[in-house]
């Protein structure tokens, strides 16, 4: 059942892609950071893409912040999403890329431009505003994408492993920054991860996806202390 305190409610969701079927039925409480973990090919990415409105679902509803968005287009769901790649347009400057989060037509008022610069400053990129993605490092590209999430100010943030290509130290840094950005924006976060230590570091709850089913979130510490059999197998314990 959906409660007032829930930011995301997924009700009897069913996704079919050829032979592959994924079902999900869970709620996520407001303000939580939830790790989505599971073997490759289990459907983690499919689940997030369906929530974001990028994949059609066969049945079920998605409710974000009390509003049924099941039939809404991706930009009208109250969701910001970062993908594994392709989060920035290579031909636009970082400031323009961030500005798209405010106005997709990119004609910003002075106040909005200041907001963009503020967001870039927040992630430590104020001096890089006029650079293009190709001229900055992978970590800086991730920061710029996070700055856009900040100005998008959506209540729910989905991360489909946007930091997968970064080294361990940088990835940890980005996860911390993500937590801060989410806290500043008051956003709830769902993030896919392969590494249990990432979940322990940056998540409160954990959703385990396996064999075509996304389980309801449980507290990370609790799950890690006493993992179910399937998760044990995945973790190699």
């Amino acid at each position: 059942m959906r409660g007032d305190d829930d930011m995301l409610s997924v009700e009897r969701l069913r996704i079919e892609q050829g032979d592959f079927v994924l079902t999900a039925d869970f709620n996520v409480r407001r303000g939580l950071r939830v790790a989505v973990i599971g073997p490759s090919g289990a459907g983690k990415s499919t689940l997030l893409n369906a929530l974001g409105g990028y994949i059609d679902v066969v049945a079920g509803t998605v409710v974000v912040d009390g509003i049924d968005v099941s039939a809404a287009s991706p930009d009208k769901r109250g969701i910001a999403m970062l993908f594994q790649d392709g989060n920035l347009f290579p031909h636009l400057t970082l400031a323009q890329n961030v500005g798209l989060g405010i106005r997709p037509a990119l004609r910003l008022s002075e106040a909005e431009t200041a907001q963009v610069m503020g967001a870039l400053g927040r992630v430590g990129l104020r001096d890089f505003a006029d650079r293009k993605p190709g001229d900055v490092s992978g970590g800086q590209q991730s920061r710029a994408a996070l700055a856009r999430v900040l100005v998008q100010a959506k209540p729910l943030l989905l991360l489909d492993e946007p930091f997968a290509a970064l080294g361990p130290a940088l990835r940890a840094e980005m996860l911390d920054l993500t937590s801060e950005v989410a806290r500043d924006a008051g956003a709830t976060v769902l993030m896919i991860t392969h590494a249990p230590e990432d979940a322990e570091r940056a998540a409160d709850d954990l959703i385990f996806v396996d064999e075509g089913r996304a389980e309801a979130p449980r507290a990370v510490a609790e799950v890690m202390a006493n993992p179910p059999e399937a998760l044990c197998a995945y973790l190699g314990r």
Binding site: N49, Y54, I79, M81, G86, F89, H91, L100, P104
Partner: protein, 512 residues
């Protein structure tokens, strides 16, 4: 999912093309005598059309194989320039090439002069041999590029393996080159066959007579000389069936058209035998392509001073017809490509092939019939020409735009959807900047094809209205060869210049 780019405008543009062709077809059919009878003369025209297209495609591909093989396995100075030259015939005005071919292979040409020294009779160029020769001139480079492209897609690792195992050239051909050739050559053959089926300008200048008339040329003659709209109608229907059928069959084996001048790479090869044979093929191919152009350039320099003023007027006319045509082309091609790039059934691409299959002269004839009761068709000669030119270039433009368009939607489709980029903003912020090189290339191709086109304008034109190719053709017809060569040089500069400007725009500020 909501409003996709081109979801509305794409079908409208495609439907518009379809409607224009259909209207022409209906107009033509209304003038045909029913039941349609195909006479002996029509059968011989049909036979010649298919036979010359078949021969042109066979010789183009057979000539291209050794040339492509030599280019694929040799590195030599000027190789890059030669590969670029292979792209030139696509934007080379047909009438210019014909003038060059006449200067080299004609009765009073360089080859005949050589024959005379040996006491041989001069070469005869008019008829089947001339038509096929000109078609090979235009399409052998195309086939070479397609085959070369195929062989260059072979990973370098395979050739390292060849070097390690010491395979003979014969084995390399069997194991590596032949499988690719078997994939590419039928597509190249089919493409050239379809292009040659609707050939007009070559047949007009080098063919003619009862034994060397293509359907397209027969439509022109029925229309222009006899004003026999009924016969023109029957021939148009015949053309539609032949070229349309061939194009639909060819669609399934057509190779993709890539923008690839910059991406040319040479793989280090260990299997190349003595270079003599390869060098021979390269010299023959380069000579075959360069000598006619050289001939035009030489006589054109002299002819520049003998050009009548009408050439200047015609140049201006051709310029703005090409500009209008290019704008129309992009207005149609961009939404259609965006629409097709996101559509799940690839069959929709067949829509654009209508432009390839429907003959320009049939469309011209149809629109002449439609306009005739209301106004003097001559007044609409140039707008109709610009429109038909755009439709002829449409299949090429869509094929150039489609693969990168698909890639952009794969890479950034979710990002733009998540940000709510729609409509004009999507074009301005994502599609145009990402596709700039291909848009520039397609526009350049369209402009050059339009500027050099000698087709539908011949139906409508009166002495006061002429595009540059038509003016040149008239000069050739009145045996003012040097003035025609001067005009050819101007036309060449205009075609290459317009292509270069568009292409250079596309290549500027490209962000990877």
């Amino acid at each position: 999912m909501a409003r996709r780019a081109g979801a509305v405008t794409g079908p409208i543009a495609a439907g518009g093309v379809f409607a224009l062709i259909l209207a022409a077809l209906l107009a033509v059919m209304s003038r045909a005598d029913w039941p349609v009878t195909i006479g002996a003369a029509d059968w011989s025209v049909l036979r010649f059309t298919i036979w010359q297209a078949f021969l042109s495609a066979v010789f183009s591909v057979l000539f291209a194989i050794p040339v492509a093989r030599a280019l694929a396995r040799r590195r030599f100075p000027g190789r890059g320039a030669l590969v670029t030259l292979l792209g030139a015939p696509f934007i080379l005005p047909v009438i210019v090439a014909v003038l060059g071919i006449l200067a080299v292979f004609g009765r009073a040409g360089w080859v005949s002069d050589g024959f005379a020294l040996l006491g041989l009779p001069p070469m005869s160029i008019y008829g089947l041999q001339g038509v096929v020769l000109a078609h090979v001139f235009f399409n052998m480079p195309l086939a070479t590029r397609l085959i070369l492209q195929g062989w260059q897609s072979i990973p370098a690792e395979q050739f390292r393996m060849v070097g390690q195992l010491g395979l003979s050239p014969r084995m390399v051909f069997r194991v590596i080159e032949w499988p690719i050739l078997r994939q590419v050559a039928p597509g190249a053959f089919a493409l050239i066959f379809v292009i040659c089926l609707t050939s007009f300008a070559v047949a007009l200048t080098l063919g003619g007579g009862p034994r060397a008339t293509t359907i397209e040329l027969a439509i022109y003659q029925a229309f222009r000389f006899d004003f026999d709209l009924g016969r023109a109608a029957v021939l148009s229907l015949l053309q539609l069936v032949v070229a349309g059928g061939a194009a639909v069959l060819a669609l399934w084996i057509l190779p993709p058209l890539a923008l690839q001048t910059g991406r040319d790479r040479v793989v280090r090869r260990w299997d190349a035998p003595s270079p003599v044979l390869d060098a021979g093929w390269i010299i023959v191919a380069a000579g075959f392509l360069l000598l006619p152009l050289l001939a035009v350039a030489i006589s054109g320099m002299v002819g520049l001073w003998q050009m009548p003023l009408s050439v200047l007027t015609a140049t201006w006319t051709s310029f703005w017809v090409a500009v209008v045509s290019t704008v129309v082309l992009l207005t149609m091609a961009l939404p259609i490509a965006a629409w097709l790039a996101q559509s799940r059934h690839g069959g929709a691409e067949a829509v654009t092939l209508l432009g390839l299959a429907a003959s320009p002269l049939m469309i011209g004839t149809g629109w002449f019939i439609l306009i005739y009761p209301f106004a003097a068709p001559v007044t609409y000669a140039l707008p109709v020409t610009a429109l038909v030119n755009a439709m002829m270039a449409l299949p090429f433009a869509v094929r150039i735009l489609l693969p990168p368009m698909r890639q952009v939607f794969t890479d950034y489709g979710r990002l733009s959807a998540g940000l709510g980029l729609h409509g004009f903003a999507l074009w301005r912020i994502m599609l145009v900047p990402r596709l700039r090189p291909q848009i520039g290339f397609a526009a350049g191709l369209g402009a050059a094809m339009s500027v050099g086109d000698l087709g539908v304008v011949t139906l409508f034109a009166d002495p006061d209205v002429a595009t540059l190719p038509l003016q040149m053709y008239r000069l050739m017809g009145s045996y003012r060869t040097e003035a025609a060569s001067g005009a050819a040089l101007v036309l060449l500069a205009l075609a290459f210049g317009m292509f270069w400007i568009c292409d250079a725009w596309g290549r500027r500020h490209v962000e990877r």
